[in-house]
């Protein structure tokens, strides 16, 4: 299992477009990606629930990646977050 924290820098937070892209990255990475904020957690492939978390600029999320590809997947997710959010 790989785990890391990330603080959202994008002014609008995880809104529709980046949520869609994140869900896509999570789906393609081959491992299970979970996003947690304030005790609520959601599978990152679940677009609607992910948008429903209302993650905003300045919020810190915990990302957990589990599965055979977790090493590479965690890296891909982190790169995506840094570049887009």
């Amino acid at each position: 299992m790989k785990q890391f924290n990330y603080t959202i820098k994008d002014a609008v937070g995880i809104h529709a477009r980046p949520a869609g892209q994140l869900a896509k990255v999570a789906k393609e990475c081959g491992s299970t990606v979970t996003i947690e904020k304030d005790g609520k957690s959601v599978n990152a492939t679940k677009l609607m629930m992910l948008m429903g978390m209302g993650i905003k600029c300045g919020d810190t999320i915990t990302v957990t990646v589990e599965g055979e590809t977790e090493e590479a997947a965690a890296k891909a997710i982190e790169e995506f977050l840094t570049a887009n959010l």
């Binding site: 820098k9 809104h15 529709a16 896509k24 609607m48 948008m51």
Partner: protein
């Protein structure tokens, strides 16, 4: 309905339209609950409808890609993903199986539940997502009943009215037939509003229920997308006035078309740079649309005024980087913090002053609280590698201030170098000439900088001892006063003697009666609000300095 009626909403794209209203009709789908005996058959209907809906969305995505660009088209990709969303589909399936009900009802219930989740969030941006869920669900429901939801448009050009337009409906509108659109609800954050701006369709949203109750198909209406006003059944006077505005607007757009891409050059071949003044990232579009050669004054205050606390280095860096990247190597002059006097932010905890115009403001705050200044300078220098940046300091009165500023700049650059962070060593450094003191000692200041930019508003108020916010003394405040013009000319001569360039970024820059005077002084750059760029270009091209 009797007589003219005015309604207020929010204008999301500035333009005028006069025409007949056409009420947008959507297929009235039957979503009533019906008991069914074969849930598997219902689920198959859902999956066939979903497949058809995705096909339609793919077509809309491709249309949007052509008309509004990739960034704005992406929403339809998201819609396709939403249709495939696990929770969404599980909910539909559970309702069909658990309650033995029809597909239409199950999709509608699911849509309402998810829309409710978004609508109850405390974030306006997320609230607008409720529309997206309803949009995809209505599409599936329409596909279930084999109805086409995107047809039924009138033949003449009309103003479309709808309760609310879903993003897919907005893009599906035939642009050639739409004069404007008006919605009773909707927010300026909605994708629909964003799409309208990109499609250049005048739009007023949120005109309210009263409008919805009054409006009839075929009634004449005027749409003012600037003011966010819609007038139903205008009286002859109003109609004439609106026609005049519409004609003026078209003329302006014609001028734009004719002057776009042309040089700012006088009949005798003297050229001048025309840049734009902006106060936030929202205005970059206007800068580019009006063909400004660069940004002569980017007021960084908005970063401070919009926040409840000091903006972080990252927040500032992001904003500066964005403007530099958007302007693609065109000059962008960012003025450091100019707060105080009439611009206040509570968290600065500035004392109330007897005479704030002459008080602790602008560079004086930066030199008193260097940590605020350093944060901004770090963000600026870090952003300097993303374009053609100039940094400008306001309210300068002395050589020693400037020395202090440069010492702090050197400190910031040294620490960036130590941390291995890149910055552009050749970033142009300049000052505002907005105090009489700076103009008088411009011979001493010019050798220290790359450029001057004259702030005529403050220069006028300080030179003439006239409070610019006091309307009673307006007659004493002659903005063309010889003293001001002499100070500007003196600064220009001293700038050029020392290899610096000089611009004007105050209101006088847009005063067309002074353009020739400024050109004769040798002013190198005039920076005006984006909407004045082409008018000024037109003026410059009509001047002959040898005549």
């Amino acid at each position: 309905m009797s007589g003219m009626m005015k309604f207020e909403g929010k204008g999301v794209y500035g333009a005028y339209a006069i025409g007949k209203i056409s009420i947008f009709k959507r297929a009235d789908n039957d979503v009533a609950q019906k008991q069914i005996s074969d849930p598997e058959a219902e689920l198959e209907r859902v999956s066939a409808a979903k497949e058809k809906a995705v096909e339609q969305l793919q077509a809309i995505y491709e249309k949007a890609l052509k008309e509004v660009g990739e960034t704005n088209a992406q929403i339809f990709e998201i819609h396709m993903m939403m249709i495939e969303d696990e929770d969404y589909n599980e909910s539909i399936e559970n309702i069909i199986r658990g309650q033995s009900v029809n597909a239409e009802y199950a999709v509608n219930e699911t849509a309402e539940n998810f829309a409710h989740m978004f609508a109850s969030m405390d974030d306006a941006y997320m609230q607008a997502r409720a529309t997206d869920v309803r949009d995809i669900s209505n599409r599936i429901i329409a596909c279930l009943s084999d109805e086409n939801i995107d047809e039924g448009f009138p033949d003449e050009k009309v103003i479309i009215f709808a309760d609310d337009l879903a993003p897919s409906e907005t893009v599906s509108l035939d642009k050639e037939k739409v004069l404007a659109f008006v919605t009773a609800y909707g927010s300026s954050n909605s994708h629909t509003a964003i799409l309208a701006r990109n499609m250049n369709i005048p739009a007023v949203i949120g005109v309210g229920e009263d409008f919805a109750a009054e409006v009839r198909n075929g009634v004449l209406a005027c749409v003012d997308g600037y003011k966010g006003e819609v007038i139903l059944d205008p009286d002859p006077e109003t109609l004439a006035e609106m026609k005049k505005k519409l004609a003026g607007d078209l003329e302006k757009k014609q001028l734009l078309l004719e002057l776009k891409g042309k040089e700012n050059i006088t009949v005798d071949g003297t050229s001048v740079k025309i840049y734009a003044n902006i106060g936030g990232l929202d205005n970059i579009g206007a800068v580019l649309a009006n063909d400004a050669g660069g940004i002569g004054l980017f007021r960084s205050e908005f970063l401070y005024l919009e926040n409840d606390d000091y903006p972080t280095e990252e927040q500032q860096f992001d904003a500066y980087k964005k403007v530099l990247e958007s302007m693609v190597n065109k000059k962008v002059i960012i003025r450091t913090l100019d707060i105080g006097a009439d611009k206040q932010a509570d968290y600065f905890k500035l004392d109330k002053e007897e005479n704030p115009a002459m008080g602790l403001r602008a560079i004086r705050i930066c030199l008193t609280r260097p940590e605020i200044f350093k944060t901004q300078l770090r963000a600026l220098f870090r952003a300097s590698v993303y374009g053609n940046l100039g940094i400008m300091f306001p309210m300068i009165t002395s050589v020693s201030e400037l020395k202090k500023i440069f010492a702090i700049c050197d400190e910031v650059k040294a620490s960036l170098k130590e941390e291995g962070i890149a910055y552009n060593e050749d970033t142009e450094m300049g000052i505002m000439i907005e105090t009489p003191a700076a103009a008088v000692i411009s011979d001493r200041l010019a050798p220290m900088v790359d450029f001057f930019s004259v702030g005529t508003n403050d220069l006028t108020q300080y030179t003439l001892a006239c409070d610019r916010q006091n309307s009673k003394i307006e007659s004493f405040c002659d903005t063309h006063h010889e003293a001001i013009l002499r100070l500007i000319e003196m600064s220009a001569v001293n700038a050029h003697k020392n290899g610096a360039w000089i611009g004007i970024c105050g209101e006088l820059a847009a005063d067309l009666t002074l353009t020739e005077t400024f050109l004769r002084m040798g002013i190198d750059e005039l920076s005006v609000s984006p909407s004045y760029v082409l008018k000024l270009r037109d003026k410059v091209r009509s001047i002959d300095l040898k005549a």
